[in-house]
């Protein structure tokens, strides 16, 4: 007999069956890459949890020899990040290369001396996208994205930067679920336990920048999105009003990052409105 309790921040359980999830996600990677005639994949490996998990999944789905992990440090990137990325490369046996982006982005930083950290961070994220898409052509592999559901919903991502990819296997997993699945797949402990960081400048952590923890954000987003709670119902369930307000506003404000740009309708048949095909059309 299962009794369902009222959901509160304390008892929301995001646990997933990791065997089932692993099967669906490796199948997805294999299907979506091979059906378009590719056999290989390219992944930007930061040393963080999300890209580590994607690298493990891709190595399992495609064979490690068909996966290229690219490390793209900037001069201030933490040395731990490079080391942690190396642990993933060693554990999975994927191909790898290191392309430092410092010399690529510094000239643009120098051109605008008053540039703030946000602009610099966006430039670095987009520069990494350029390197990855170049390697996509060189390696003949598709770029696999590494954004999770929490950061996509919060808009904590650089449009056309780290969000740019051909497919994303973990975009429907909250951060806690990414962590749970990573443990099950054998991602090294040092990666699982360290605080999430975009590593765009020294000491940066996601949770400091966002002003709340992923643990809380996961649970609130689960109520708002998966369980279709209203903001008021989330507050009734026990989340603080200011936190609920901040998250609801982020989800709405950054929705543009989750959409293709709208096309102004002129004709009778317009891309995005009434020209409707899946990407897998014909495959």
């Amino acid at each position: 007999m299962v009794t369902r309790k009222l959901l509160t921040p304390q008892n929301i359980d995001l646990s997933i069956n990791t065997d089932l999830t692993r099967k669906i996600l490796t199948g997805f990677i294999h299907s979506e890459i091979t059906r378009t005639g590719f056999t290989r994949a390219v992944i930007g490996l930061s040393g963080g949890l999300d890209s580590a998990l994607v690298c493990f999944l891709a190595a399992e789905a495609l064979g490690p020899e068909n996966v290229l992990a690219v490390r793209m440090p900037y001069k201030t990137s933490s040395p731990d990040s490079l080391e942690d990325a190396q642990k993933v490369i060693d554990a999975t046996g994927v191909q790898s290369m290191t392309v430092e982006i410092t010399a690529m982005v510094e000239p643009l930083f120098a051109r605008f001396p008053d540039m703030n950290n946000t602009r610099k961070g966006n430039i670095m994220a987009r520069q990494r996208m350029i390197v990855l898409y170049d390697q996509s052509a060189a390696f003949n592999g598709l770029v696999i994205g590494t954004g999770n559901k929490t950061e996509i919903l919060l808009g904590y991502t650089t449009q056309f930067g780290d969000s740019a990819c051909a497919l994303n296997p973990i975009g429907d997993l909250y951060k806690a679920q990414v962590r749970q699945l990573s443990k099950a797949l054998g991602v090294p402990d040092s990666i699982i336990t360290k605080p999430p960081s975009a590593d765009l400048w020294a000491g940066q952590t996601d949770e400091n920048e966002l002003g709340f923890t992923y643990a809380d954000a996961d649970k609130l987003l689960y109520l708002l999105v998966d369980q279709r709670y209203t903001a008021e119902e989330c507050i009734e369930a026990g989340f603080s009003p200011s936190f609920v307000k901040a998250v609801v506003e982020r989800v709405r404000r950054f929705h543009y990052k989750r959409m293709l740009p709208p096309i102004a309708k002129i004709s009778n048949r317009t891309i995005g409105y009434d020209f409707l095909y899946l990407r897998d059309w014909g495959t």
């Binding site: 359980d13 646990s15 997933i16 069956n17 065997d19 089932l20 999830t21 099967k23 669906i24 199948g27 997805f28 299907s31 979506e32 429907d172 009434d274 020209f275 409707l276 095909y277 899946l278 990407r279 897998d280 059309w281 014909g282 495959t283």
Partner: protein, 289 residues
């Protein structure tokens, strides 16, 4: 009487009918080699599922003049076959449809009645809805076909039961969703829950197959299953993998189950009709009309 059933849980190529037809013919050969009497393919097995604007380009008509159905009808001399396709009617309306083929003839066509148009689904944007639930006679007894959302509603199986169906032939293109700590998806759990319920409530055989593979981010979970008139699971295909699942069922189990549990004998259809008329004619706006 024994009936050898083969459940094909195939992947499909989205919008490429020729390649899907070739796969059907391969599975028919395999099922024939296994001595099957009846082979069931999933919903929209000839076309793929999220067709959107591809619908008019994949539609066909289940007769000998149709280049897709001609080889299937020819193959139906070897065994009875149930396929899923997009049907275009004489007035050029498009339906999600199932065809039952036997001895070179199209014995019955069912058009999907309930087109899910909510959440991730958008079927009634692209398809017309079917307007009939009819059982039909096969060489194995009377059967009825339903398509996915049709049997998520309780009434179509009930109508088939009253119309004489002892074999419920169900098929789906069911996107997998809902991962919890359980080893199967919420969607798979739910479907098998109701399949077992129908086989128990109607003391009938319930036979279901569902496709596998991916379309963009959607996964299809397979898990074909057959339940006997006592609600027992007789066989189950794997999840998320292509498979041809074979099972031999003893149709005499209908006799034994209904001797034990005469739910069909005792069903008060006149009462149902009377009460349904009263409810629907009452003008009560809260009725489920």
């Amino acid at each position: 009487m024994k009936l050898s059933i083969a459940l094909a849980q195939i992947n499909t190529v989205l919008g490429n009918v020729k390649r899907n037809l070739d796969k059907h013919l391969e599975y028919i050969e395999q099922a024939q080699a296994a001595g099957s009497d009846l082979l069931i393919f999933p919903e929209l097995s000839l076309t793929g599922y999220v067709l959107q604007d591809l619908v008019p380009t994949v539609a066909c008509r289940p007769n000998h003049d149709d280049p897709v159905f001609r080889p299937l009808l020819d193959a139906s001399h070897k065994m009875d076959i149930m396929v899923g396709f997009v049907e275009e009617d004489v007035r050029n309306r498009f339906y999600i449809a199932s065809a039952y083929l036997s001895k070179g003839e199209t014995v019955h066509v069912h058009r999907k009645i309930y087109l899910p148009t909510y959440g991730m689904f958008d079927e009634s944007r692209f398809f017309a809805w079917g307007d009939a639930v009819e059982a039909f006679d096969t060489r194995f007894g009377r059967a009825g076909m339903l398509i996915c959302e049709d049997f998520w509603h309780a009434s179509p199986p009930y109508l088939l039961w009253l119309d004489g169906a002892d074999l419920f032939l169900f098929h789906s293109s069911s996107p997998g969703r809902g991962v919890s700590e359980a080893p199967i998806l919420d969607s798979a759990r739910w479907v098998n829950h109701i399949l077992r319920a129908y086989s128990s409530l109607y003391t009938s055989f319930v036979i279901h197959t569902n496709r596998v593979g991916y379309e963009d981010g959607l996964n299809f979970w397979g898990g074909a299953a057959v339940y006997d008139p006592n609600g027992n699971l007789l066989c189950e295909g794997p999840f998320h993998e292509e498979a041809l699942t074979l099972v031999e069922v003893d149709l005499n189990e209908l006799h034994r189950a209904r001797a034990r549990l005469p739910l069909l004998r005792d069903e008060r259809t006149a009462l149902v009709q009377r009460e349904l008329n009263r409810i629907l004619n009452s003008g009560n706006r809260n009725s489920g009309r």
